[in-house]
C-alpha cells in the first residue's frame, strides 16, 4: 500500500532552503534560541529568589545595608561598588557593539581594538566579583548575634578598633605580660565563635589567656532578623540597650552565639537562603562572564589571524556579541532585584 511518503511531490512546491525565513543566518538564529533558554534559566533563579524573599518578608536583608563597602575606602558607600560593576559591564557591552559596528565596515583594526577593550572590561568585572565574594564571605566586624531570648539580630554602628591583647596567663607561645598587636580582629572573631571569650578575657589558640583592649563602639543599634521569646522580626533595639545585649553574647563564653560572614550553612546578613541565592545567582552570572571572556579571547585570535577578514564578513563577532550583551542584560536584572529592591 502506498503511503504519503511514496507520493512524489513537485519540488517547486517545497521550501528548498537557502532563504532564511527570518533573513538571518543559522548561527545567529541558534544563538538567539540559546539566549532565550538561558534567559529562562536566569529568570527561574531570580523568580525563586523572589519567592523566598516574599515568603520571609522582613527577615530578608536590605541590599544597601549589606553591600556598602568599597575597596580601600571601607564602609559607608551603599551600592556604590555594585554600581561601579554595573558601569564596567555596560561599558564593555558598548565596546562590544562598537566592535560589531567596525566589523560591518570590514575594519579589522577597529574590531581588534574594541574587542581587546571588551576583554579587559570583562576581566575587571570578574575581578570585582571576586572582591565582592571575598567581602561577603568574611563579613563585617560585628557579625550577627543571638540574643538571650533566642532571637537573632544584625548590628549597625561603628566598631571600636581592637588595640591589643595583653596576656594574663601564659600559654605555649605567649608569656605573661606580652602585648599582642597582630591579626587581632581575625583572632577575636575566631575566639568569639568558638566561645573562647569570657568577660573580656580571650583564650588564644595556644591556650594563653589575654585581656582584650578595645576602643568603645559608637551608635550601636540591633535590628532583629529572627523571632525570639521577646523580640520579633523588625524590632530595633536602641543604642542605650544594644551595647549590653551585644556584649552579653560576645562575653558569654558559649560557642556559636555570633555569626561572622557567610557560608552555605549560615550568614550574618539574614536567612540561610540569602547566602545560597547570593552565591548561586552571582556565581552563575560570573561564570557566564568568565566564559564570555574566554570566548572573546578565542574570537580575538581569529580576528588577529585574519580568519574572518578572509571569510568576507565578521558575523562571528555579532554572535559572540549577542552572548556578551546578554550577560550584561542579566546583570541589569540581578542588580535591580538582588541589590536595589
Amino acid at each position: 500500500m502506498a503511503g504519503h511518503a511514496s507520493k512524489e511531490i513537485d519540488s517547486s512546491a517545497l521550501w528548498g532552503g537557502k532563504i532564511s525565513p527570518f533573513s538571518t543566518s543559522y548561527g545567529k538564529l541558534m544563538m538567539w534560541f540559546f539566549l532565550v533558554s538561558d534567559a529562562l534559566t536566569f529568570s527561574g533563579l531570580l523568580v525563586a529568589y523572589g519567592f523566598t524573599r516574599h515568603a520571609c518578608l522582613d527577615a530578608w536583608p536590605i541590599g544597601e545595608e549589606t553591600f556598602n563597602s568599597m575597596p580601600f575606602l571601607g564602609h559607608g558607600y551603599p551600592l556604590l561598588y555594585v554600581a561601579l560593576m554595573t558601569f564596567i559591564l555596560i561599558v564593555s557591552s558598548v565596546t562590544m557593539v562598537l566592535a560589531v559596528e567596525a566589523g560591518h565596515r570590514m575594519d579589522r583594526k577597529g574590531v581588534t581594538k574594541w574587542l581587546i577593550a571588551t576583554i579587559i572590561g570583562g576581566f575587571f568585572f570578574v575581578g570585582s566579583q571576586a572582591w565582592e565574594w571575598s567581602h561577603f564571605i568574611h563579613g563585617s566586624e560585628f557579625g550577627k548575634v543571638e540574643l538571650t531570648d533566642g532571637s537573632q539580630a544584625i548590628v549597625k554602628g561603628h566598631f571600636g578598633e581592637i588595640e591589643n591583647f595583653k596576656v594574663l596567663e601564659a600559654g605555649k607561645h605567649h608569656k605573661k605580660g606580652d602585648v599582642i598587636t597582630e591579626d587581632l580582629l581575625h583572632e577575636f572573631h575566631h575566639a568569639v565563635v568558638a566561645g573562647n571569650v569570657e568577660n573580656g578575657i580571650i583564650t588564644l589558640h595556644d591556650g594563653s589567656k589575654a585581656k582584650v583592649n578595645k576602643k568603645a563602639d559608637h551608635g550601636m543599634t540591633l535590628v532583629i532578623k529572627k523571632d525570639g521569646g521577646t523580640h520579633k522580626v523588625g524590632d530595633v533595639i536602641p543604642e542605650s540597650k544594644a551595647c549590653d545585649m551585644y556584649y552579653e553574647a560576645i562575653n558569654s563564653g558559649t560557642p556559636n552565639r555570633v555569626v561572622y560572614g557567610a557560608d552555605l550553612q549560615q550568614n550574618e546578613y539574614g536567612p540561610q537562603q540569602y547566602g545560597q541565592f547570593f552565591f548561586f545567582i552571582t556565581g552563575f552570572h560570573g561564570f557566564h562572564v568568565f566564559s564570555g571572556v574566554i570566548i572573546n579571547i578565542i574570537i580575538l585570535m581569529g580576528v588577529i589571524s585574519g580568519t574572518y577578514h578572509k571569510r568576507g564578513h565578521y558575523e562571528m563577532i555579532e554572535k559572540t556579541g549577542l552572548y556578551w550583551h546578554f550577560v550584561d542584560l542579566v546583570w541589569v536584572f540581578v542588580f535591580t532585584f538582588f541589590y536595589l529592591v
Partner: protein, 122 residues
C-alpha cells in the same frame, strides 16, 4: 565540493563609513542614557530607605527603569529592533508569556506561604 545547503551570511548589513558614524553616535547616546539611569538608581537607592513612605513608588520606579535599560540593550545593542518582525516576536512573545505568568503565580504563592509562617511562628 561546494555545498549549496548553507545559508550565506547576508552582506546587506555591511555599511559605509558615513553610516557608521551615525551608528556610533547612536551607540554613545545609548551609553550615556544607560549610565545616567544606573547613576539615578544608585542615588535614589542610597537616599531613600526601604522603611520610607515613598519606598513603594521608588521600588516600582526601579523596576520600570530596569525594563527601560533592558529594552535598550536588547533592541539597540543586540540589534533585535533591526531584525525582521517575525524573528523579534518569536523571541519576545513566548518568553514574556512564560515569565509574566511565573512571576505572578510565584509572588501570590510566596505571600500565602509568608502568612502561614507568620501565623505558626512561636
Amino acid at each position: 565540493m561546494e555545498r549549496d545547503d548553507i545559508i550565506e551570511y547576508s552582506l546587506d548589513v555591511h555599511h559605509s563609513e558615513e553610516h557608521g558614524k551615525l551608528l556610533r553616535k547612536k551607540i554613545w547616546k545609548v551609553t550615556a542614557l544607560l549610565t545616567a539611569i544606573t547613576a539615578l538608581e544608585v542615588i535614589l537607592g542610597s537616599q531613600i530607605k526601604q522603611s520610607s513612605d515613598y519606598w513603594q513608588v521608588i521600588k516600582w520606579l526601579f523596576i520600570g527603569l530596569t525594563i527601560i535599560k533592558a529594552a535598550y540593550i536588547v533592541l539597540i545593542f543586540m540589534h533585535l529592533g533591526d531584525e525582521k518582525k517575525t524573528l523579534k516576536y518569536m523571541i519576545l512573545v513566548p518568553y514574556f508569556i512564560f515569565i509574566l505568568y511565573l512571576i505572578y503565580i510565584i509572588i501570590v504563592e510566596a505571600l500565602a506561604v509568608s502568612e502561614v509562617w507568620t501565623q505558626n511562628a512561636p
